[in-house]
C-alpha cells in the first residue's frame, strides 16, 4: 500500500470519530446506564444517590409482579388488534381515495387531521365522548331508545374502547404511507390487467396488494413499534382500570418509575420491554421475508 493510500485510509477511519463519539454519548451510555440501573436499587438519602447491587431482588420482583402479566397480555391484544385494524382500514381508504377522479388532495388533507391532534387532547376529547351520562355516544343511544353503554367502566369493553381511539388516531398514518405507495404503482400494469378483463376486485387482490406488500410491511413495523409504546391516550382515558382491564406495559412502567420511585426495577422492566419489541420485530421481519420470498 502506498503512503498516500495509507494516509487516506487512516483519515477515513479518524473521520468517523465524531459520529462514533455521538453514538457512544447518545445511545451507548444511556443503554449501559439502564443496564447498570436494572441490577441495582437506587435510593436518595441525605441528598445523595445510593446505589446498591441487587440483581437477584430485581429479577425476583419481575417474576412476582402481579400486574405485569395482565399488562403484557393487554399490550399484545392492543398491538395485534389495533395494528391489524389500522392496516386494513388504512389500506382500504388508500385504495379508495387513490381511485377518486376529483378532490383527492382535499380528502387526503382531511384524512390526516387526527394525527395532528396532540394525544392529550385526543384522550380528553374521547373521554368526554365516552362519558356515561353526558357523552355523545350514550346521548345518541338513548335518543334512539337504546340503553347507554359503560364504555370505559366495564372490564369487558374498556380495552376495546381504548383500541377504537388508537385506531381513529393512527389510521391516517397508515393511510398516508399506503396512499403514497398506491399512487406510485405502475399505471400501465393496472391498465393492462383491466384491458385483459380483470375485475376491480381482482385488480386489488391479485395486483395491487402484492405490489403494495413492502409498503404494508413498513406501515406494520412502524405502527407496531408505536403501539407497543402507547401511553398518553390510555393514561388519560382509563389509567389502566377498571381493575387491570386496560393496564398496559408502558403504563405500568410509568407507575413503577414515577409513582413508586423504583428506579432499579423500572429500568429492568424497560429492558424487558425493549427486548420484547426487538424480538417482535425480528419475528415480524423473518415472517415478512418469508412472505416476500413466496
Amino acid at each position: 500500500m502506498s503512503p498516500g493510500a495509507l494516509a487516506n485510509r487512516t483519515f477515513r477511519h479518524w473521520s468517523l470519530l465524531p459520529a462514533v463519539f455521538l453514538f457512544a454519548v447518545l445511545t451507548l451510555y444511556p443503554l449501559v446506564n439502564l443496564v447498570r440501573m436494572s441490577v441495582s436499587t437506587i435510593e436518595f438519602t441525605q441528598g445523595t444517590e445510593d446505589w446498591r447491587f441487587t440483581p437477584r431482588a430485581n429479577f425476583a420482583q419481575l417474576a412476582a409482579d402481579d400486574v405485569l402479566r395482565p399488562a403484557l397480555v393487554n399490550t399484545l391484544i392492543f398491538v395485534a388488534v389495533s395494528v391489524a385494524a389500522e392496516i386494513v382500514i388504512g389500506l382500504a381508504l388508500a385504495i379508495a381515495v387513490a381511485g377518486l377522479s376529483r378532490g383527492k388532495q382535499w380528502v387526503r388533507t382531511a384524512m390526516i387531521l387526527p394525527i395532528l391532534v396532540p394525544p392529550v387532547a385526543i384522550g380528553s376529547m374521547w373521554k368526554l365522548m365516552y362519558n356515561y351520562d353526558f357523552g355523545i355516544f350514550n346521548q345518541a343511544l338513548t335518543a334512539v331508545g337504546a340503553m347507554p353503554v359503560n364504555w370505559l367502566g366495564s372490564t369487558q369493553l374498556a380495552l376495546g374502547s381504548v383500541i377504537v381511539v388508537d385506531i381513529w388516531h393512527w389510521v391516517p398514518f397508515v393511510f398516508l404511507i399506503l396512499f403514497a405507495a398506491v399512487e406510485g404503482l405502475p399505471v400501465d400494469l393496472l391498465e393492462a390487467a383491466r384491458v385483459d378483463g380483470a375485475t376491480r376486485s381482482q385488480v386489488v387482490w391479485r395486483i395491487m396488494i402484492p405490489l403494495l406488500r413492502p409498503a404494508i410491511v413498513v406501515a406494520f413495523l412502524f405502527r407496531s413499534i408505536l403501539a407497543f409504546k402507547v401511553f398518553d391516550e390510555v393514561f388519560l382515558l382509563t389509567s389502566g382500570g377498571p381493575g387491570t382491564a386496560t393496564e398496559l406495559v408502558n403504563l405500568h412502567l410509568y407507575k413503577v418509575f414515577f409513582e413508586q420511585n423504583q428506579l432499579g426495577y423500572g429500568a429492568l422492566l424497560s429492558l424487558a420491554v425493549i427486548a420484547a419489541i426487538v424480538a417482535f420485530l425480528m419475528v415480524a421481519r423473518r415472517a415478512s421475508a418469508a412472505v416476500q420470498a413466496r
Binding site: G47, Y132, T142, S154, A158, G243, E259, Q260, N261
Partner: protein, 451 residues
C-alpha cells in the same frame, strides 16, 4: 326626606372612608418581612390555585417583593420537584408537595428544616397541624412534632366532606346523614337512575378509591398497619372491620352510584354533583367553591356540607390530603430566607383571611371561628373545622406510595367484582407485608379472612 338625606351622606362618607382605608390596608404588610430577592414557587394547577395566586399578588403589592409562580399540572409536580432537588441547584425556592410525597423529601434530606434557615421562625399556634405532616423525626422515620423538626407548613389542608342537596333531602323527608348506614338508606331512597344517582364517590383505581374508602375504613375502626408511629408495621388491612367497611363502600357505589362506578374519578363525582344528577357525594372541601360558581354549577346555593358520617360504632374518619410548602436544601441561602419571609407573611391571620375570601382553604383555626364562617359562600367552614377533630394522615411512611398502589388496585378489583372483598384484602395484606419485610420493618399480618 331629611332622614334619607342624612342616610345618603352617611353612606357616602362611609364609602369614602373605606376607599381611603383600602389602599392603606393593601399597602401595609400584614407582617413586616423586609426587602427580599425575587423567589420562584412550584405550585400545582389545582382548584385552589386562583386563590393562592391572588394572595401572592397581595404579598407582592404589600411588600414590593417579587414572586414567580411555576404552575404545573398535578401529574408533573412530583417529577419537577424531584428534579429540582436532585440537580444540586434548585430552580425553586419554595415547593408545594402533596402530603404523600413529603416523606421521600424529608427522609432523603432534600429540604431545609425551617429553623435551620432562621432559628427564630415558628408557626403561630393557630396554624393547624394537619396530623403533624410538616414535622419529621428522622430517628423514628415518622412525621411527628414529638422530637421532629419543622420541615414544612400546610398551604392547603383538604379533607373530604359529605355534600348533600338540602332541598332534595328535605323534599324526601330525610335528615342529613349521620352514619354511613344513614347514607345507604337515604341514597337508596333517592336513587332513580339514570336521572338521579343517590350517592357518588370515587371508585377509580389508584389514589381515588384508596383515599375515599379509607374514610369509611377509619370510621369502622380499621387500619392498614397496626401502629406505624411506634414502629409496629403489622398489617391489619384484612381485619373484619376493614371488610365491613369495604362491603359497605361497594354496596353504596353499586346500589346508588352510576353504572361506571368502577372508573369514577374526582372530576366525574364533581360533575355529577354540579349538574344536580347526584344529591349526595363524598368530595374534598376544595371543590366547594366550584359548586358556588354559576358558570360551572347548576346547584349554586343548594349544596350543604357535614363531616363525613360515623361508622357502626360511632367512630368517625377522614383522611387529610394537604399540600405542604417546603424549602429545597439546595436553594441559595438568600432565596431560602426570602421564601421563609413569604411563609411568615402567608401564615398571618390577615393573609389566611384573604386566602379564604379568594376561595382557598385557610390553615388557621381562628379564621374558621371568625365572622367569615357566617358568609353563605363559606358555609362549609363549620363542617371543615369539625372534621379536623378526627381527620388524620394515612400511609405516612416511606412505603406509602407503594401501599397506595397495592390498595388502589385491590380495592378497585373488589369493587368491580374481579375478586371478593375478602380476597382483595387478603391479597393486599400479603403484598404490603412483603413490602415491609423487604425494607426490614417489624411486620406481620392477621390471619387471612375466609374467602
Amino acid at each position: 326626606m331629611h332622614n334619607r338625606k342624612i342616610s345618603r351622606v352617611l353612606v357616602l362618607a362611609a364609602a369614602l372612608a373605606v376607599a381611603a382605608i383600602t389602599p392603606a390596608v393593601a399597602q401595609k404588610p400584614f407582617v413586616e418581612v423586609g426587602k427580599q430577592p425575587p423567589i420562584t414557587i412550584l405550585v400545582a394547577s389545582t382548584p385552589w390555585y386562583p386563590a393562592f395566586e391572588k394572595v401572592v399578588g397581595l404579598y407582592e403589592q404589600q411588600t414590593g417583593n417579587q414572586i414567580k409562580l411555576d404552575t404545573t399540572p398535578f401529574g408533573g409536580m412530583l417529577e419537577k420537584a424531584r428534579n429540582a432537588v436532585r440537580t444540586g441547584k434548585s430552580p425553586y425556592d419554595l415547593m408545594m408537595l402533596d402530603t404523600q410525597w413529603t416523606i421521600e423529601f424529608y427522609e432523603g434530606g432534600f429540604v431545609s428544616p425551617l429553623k435551620e434557615i432562621d432559628a427564630a421562625f415558628d408557626l403561630p399556634k393557630e396554624v393547624m397541624s394537619f396530623g403533624d405532616s410538616g414535622y419529621w423525626n428522622a430517628q423514628k422515620r415518622w412525621r411527628t412534632a414529638d422530637g421532629g423538626k419543622l420541615m414544612a407548613y400546610t398551604v392547603l389542608g383538604n379533607v373530604q366532606l359529605l355534600y348533600y342537596r338540602a332541598d332534595v333531602l328535605k323534599q324526601a323527608g330525610l335528615a342529613p346523614p349521620k352514619t354511613w348506614g344513614d347514607v345507604l338508606a337515604a341514597c337508596t331512597k333517592l336513587n332513580d337512575p339514570p336521572k338521579t344517582y343517590g350517592f357518588v364517590a370515587r371508585g377509580e383505581k389508584g389514589n381515588g378509591i384508596r383515599y375515599d374508602w379509607q374514610s369509611v375504613m377509619l370510621a369502622e375502626g380499621a387500619s392498614v398497619v397496626k401502629d406505624p408511629a411506634a414502629g409496629d408495621f403489622t398489617v391489619t388491612i384484612n381485619s373484619a372491620q376493614a371488610k365491613a367497611a369495604l362491603d359497605l363502600y361497594i354496596d353504596l357505589l353499586k346500589r346508588c352510584g352510576p353504572p361506571n362506578y368502577g372508573s369514577l374519578g374526582q372530576g366525574d363525582v364533581i360533575q355529577l354533583l354540579a349538574t344536580g344528577k347526584a344529591p349526595m357525594g363524598d368530595v374534598v372541601t376544595a371543590a366547594f367553591a366550584s359548586f358556588e360558581d354559576p358558570a360551572k354549577s347548576a346547584v349554586v346555593g343548594k349544596l350543604e356540607t357535614v363531616p363525613l358520617p360515623a361508622g357502626r360504632n360511632g367512630g368517625q374518619g377522614a383522611v387529610i390530603g394537604n399540600w405542604n410548602a417546603v424549602i429545597p436544601k439546595d436553594a441559595p441561602d438568600a432565596q431560602k430566607k426570602a421564601a421563609l419571609a413569604f411563609s411568615r407573611w402567608f401564615v398571618t391571620y390577615d393573609a389566611q383571611r384573604a386566602f379564604a375570601q379568594a376561595g382557598g382553604i385557610p390553615n388557621r383555626s381562628d379564621v374558621y371561628t371568625s365572622d367569615l364562617a357566617k358568609e353563605s359562600r363559606l358555609r362549609w367552614m363549620p363542617a371543615y373545622l369539625e372534621t379536623q377533630k378526627f381527620a388524620r394522615q394515612e400511609l405516612g411512611y416511606a412505603e406509602g406510595a407503594l401501599v397506595e398502589q397495592i390498595l388502589g388496585l385491590r380495592l378497585n378489583q373488589a369493587l368491580i367484582g374481579e375478586m371478593s372483598s375478602s380476597k382483595a384484602l387478603n391479597t393486599a395484606a400479603k403484598e404490603i407485608e412483603e413490602l415491609f419485610k423487604k425494607n426490614a420493618r417489624k411486620t406481620g399480618s392477621l390471619p387471612p379472612l375466609p374467602e
